[in-house]
């Protein structure tokens, strides 16, 4: 019997350092920002001479300087993930503004409407679809190629999913000429379905196909909105399948902060979905223990065991909303519990979601412990 080995990775985003945010936004880069770049460069083994020379200019960066800064931010992201020991990496989405905004600003058919709250004092920019949306070129190609050129690790490229694009957009087009005030459920549902499938075929797939054609072997469809409306989970599946159609690469889907029970039985209809990467630790106990009662956040795994869907579970073992650094032993026990429910062959290990709301210090410590916890779980299962 082969030894158990848990694949580890981040889900997508990392925080953007001040020197990257300020320089691109046209705000002055200050000495502490330069020092931060120097400190993390040394920590990650990056030669910072060129970067700090540019940053010390402070403001008024040229387009080529901004491009260099973006490249360095991506390199820092790659190295941070590599140095924390992950098997699968990307660039922490350093070139992207935000997962939704990144798509709609590259697609025709959307107009920005303003800022709304996500929670507390966290916000996101929201757009309206005003005509049939369309992506005409692979806008993530350069980003993906840069990552490929700068790491030997497996690369997993995250893409915002079609259902989420639909759900997070205002609808000023598909709802028709008149509003949906008092409309039947069928009419409301049909408007959303057509928008979702159009987004899959004409927004996500063209970008994803171009990246795969350029050599990406693993694409992750991010659908944080997937279970927002339980009755629309079949539409989530339909949009995933429409996105995936004709794509010759490993495809997985990330869902978070949801009641996963509404995924059943519909996930059985997913076409060749390698894995579902799910958040769990946000709702779990912080005490160690591998029994079901010790791991309340993972109770839903029983449903996955019973389901006819046989894909892998990307197990969220790191809470991305707190600065609490999960001890390796806690990660170990979360993994061991999941392995006992589903079998270790169906488990891979990741954070609950992207780490963009955590500092690099916190993110790094969390990831290092995540990897160490995965190794401890392997040792336990491999009898060492």
């Amino acid at each position: 019997m082969s030894e158990v080995r848990f694949v580890t990775r981040e889900i997508g985003s990392l925080a953007k350092p001040g020197w990257r945010v300020k320089s691109i936004a046209g705000r002055p880069v200050e000495d502490p920002d330069v020092e931060y770049a120097r400190k993390w460069g040394a920590r990650l083994g990056i030669n910072t001479e060129e970067l700090t020379e540019i940053l010390q200019k402070g403001q008024g960066f040229s387009d080529s300087e901004k491009a260099k800064i973006q490249d360095y931010a991506a390199l820092y992201g790659i190295r941070l993930l590599e140095n924390s020991g992950l098997d699968v990496v990307y660039d922490g989405e350093q070139r992207r503004s935000e997962m939704y905004d990144h798509v709609v600003k590259h697609a025709k058919g959307f107009e920005t409407r303003g800022t709304v709250r996500s929670w507390d004092n966290k916000y996101y920019t929201k757009a309206a679809v005003v005509e049939k949306p369309l992506v005409e070129k692979t806008y993530d190609l350069e980003e993906c190629e840069f990552v490929r050129e700068h790491t030997d690790r497996t690369v997993k490229v995250p893409f915002t999913g079609a259902y989420t694009i639909m759900d997070w957009s205002y609808d000023e087009h598909y709802a028709g000429e008149s509003s949906l005030l008092g409309a039947s459920a069928e009419r409301r549902s049909e408007a959303r379905r057509v928008f979702g499938v159009d987004a899959a075929r004409d927004v996500v797939r063209p970008n994803l196909a171009g990246v795969v054609e350029a050599g990406a072997e693993w694409v992750q469809v991010d659908e944080p909105a997937a279970t927002t409306r339980p009755e629309e989970v079949p539409l989530v599946v339909e949009t995933f399948n429409a996105t995936r159609e004709g794509i010759d690469a490993r495809c997985s889907m990330h869902i978070c902060f949801s009641d996963y029970s509404c995924l059943f039985p519909y996930i059985e209809e997913l076409d060749d979905c390698y894995e579902l990467q799910l958040e769990f630790s946000n709702r779990d106990s912080l005490e160690t223990g591998t029994k079901g009662a010790d791991r309340p956040g993972y109770a839903i795994l029983d449903r996955f065991r019973e389901s006819a869907w046989e894909g892998k579970i990307g197990l969220g073992v790191i809470d991305i909303h707190t600065d609490f650094i999960e001890p390796p032993e806690l990660v170990r026990d979360r993994v061991l519990h999941a392995a006992s429910v589903l079998g270790p062959e169906r488990i891979e290990v990741n954070t609950d979601c992207g780490l963009r709301t955590r500092s690099w210090e916190v993110s790094y410590e969390k990831l290092v412990n995540m990897v160490e916890g995965a190794r401890l779980a392997e040792e336990a299962l491999n009898g060492r």
Binding site: V116, N121, Y123, E172, L181, A185, T228
Partner: protein, 309 residues
């Protein structure tokens, strides 16, 4: 003759300036006082647009509430803000209340700054609170809706009534799964002992399946989202005041006042009873500029209907 009113309960949208101020505050770039000043400016603007719309009740927009439960999570003994949880089918999250040992109790009702009574006209404003049932069901841990009503929401309502609140809208967000026990909700509402009219508002969801039971509850009004509920689902005649969610707080598409008025006419004709025009949920789900325009159009629709009566 049926009474027609218009107002906007719930959490109102933050202006781009307030968004920036709160972001800056979180990043240590500005002070709490600067955020408060911006909230005051937002409140002044919100009150002004409501007055211009000739609303029957004014709202303070809960501009400093992080979510519908948070002030209670933070103030009540035995409760704390818990895990991040999706608010209905939106892309907005709240901290689900988490109960700790013992009965959660509001040692004293929430006042300023959570309710801006100094800025609101006595006997002319509407307050929004979580339904005790919604708070108990959303909470992690064992909480009885009736206990929440007796120890937290009831005392709060009586304090509001004593401070010039004319009506309380209870936001009920936990009835859409089809598994809720209406009897438990009924007991909790009875335990509130409210001296002011209560509305039970079901934002952002199809209330069709439960409306038949809800109309038996001891509240003056029921709130229905008409962007998710078909009008055919409402009992006829409708025995309560209807808070008709006729402005879509989840979409940027601006409603035509005449279209709202036309729908209002249909409701008046088919259902009878009093009609209060409201958004179908918190206006915080659209950018403030759009929310402001929706308020104006809601007021215009109410004006059209009132002039016809």
């Amino acid at each position: 003759m049926a009474e027609i009113k218009a107002y906007t309960p719930g959490i109102y949208a933050r202006s781009e300036e307030l968004v920036q101020a709160t972001r800056d505050f979180d990043r240590g770039r500005t002070t709490a006082e600067a955020v408060r000043q911006r909230q005051n400016e937002d409140l002044r603007n919100f009150l002004e647009v409501q007055r211009e719309a000739n609303f029957d009740y004014l709202s303070d927009g809960l501009l400093n509430w992080q979510d519908i439960f948070r002030p209670f999570d933070e103030a009540a003994v035995g409760l704390r803000p818990g895990s991040l949880t999706r608010f209905l089918n939106t892309n907005t999250f709240l901290r689900a209340p988490a109960s700790e040992a013992g009965t959660p109790t509001l040692t004293e009702p929430l006042g300023e700054p959570y309710f801006r009574i100094g800025d609101l006209p006595r006997d002319g404003w509407v307050a929004t609170l979580p339904s005790p049932h919604a708070l108990a069901v959303t909470a992690a841990g064992e909480l009885e809706p009736q206990v929440v009503a007796e120890t937290m929401i009831g005392p709060q309502i009586r304090w509001l009534a004593g401070n010039g609140c004319a009506m309380v809208v209870l936001q009920e967000t936990t009835l859409f799964e089809g598994s809720s026990d209406i009897f438990v909700l009924s007991e909790a509402l009875d335990a509130l002992k409210s001296p002011v009219p209560l509305a039970l508002h079901l934002p952002f969801g199809d209330a069709g399946e439960v409306l038949g039971e809800l109309v038996e509850l001891d509240v003056e009004a029921i709130g229905v989202d008409f962007y998710a509920t078909h009008v055919a689902a409402l009992p006829r005649p409708f025995p309560k005041t209807l808070l008709a969610g006729v402005v879509d707080a989840r979409n940027s598409l601006l409603e035509e006042p005449e279209e709202i008025a036309e729908f209002g006419r249909q409701l008046l004709e088919e259902l009878g009873g009093d009609l209060h025009l409201v958004p179908n949920g918190d206006l915080q789900f659209v950018p403030e500029e759009i929310a402001r325009e929706k308020v104006r159009r809601l007021g215009e629709a109410a004006r059209i209907l009132k002039e016809e009566r």
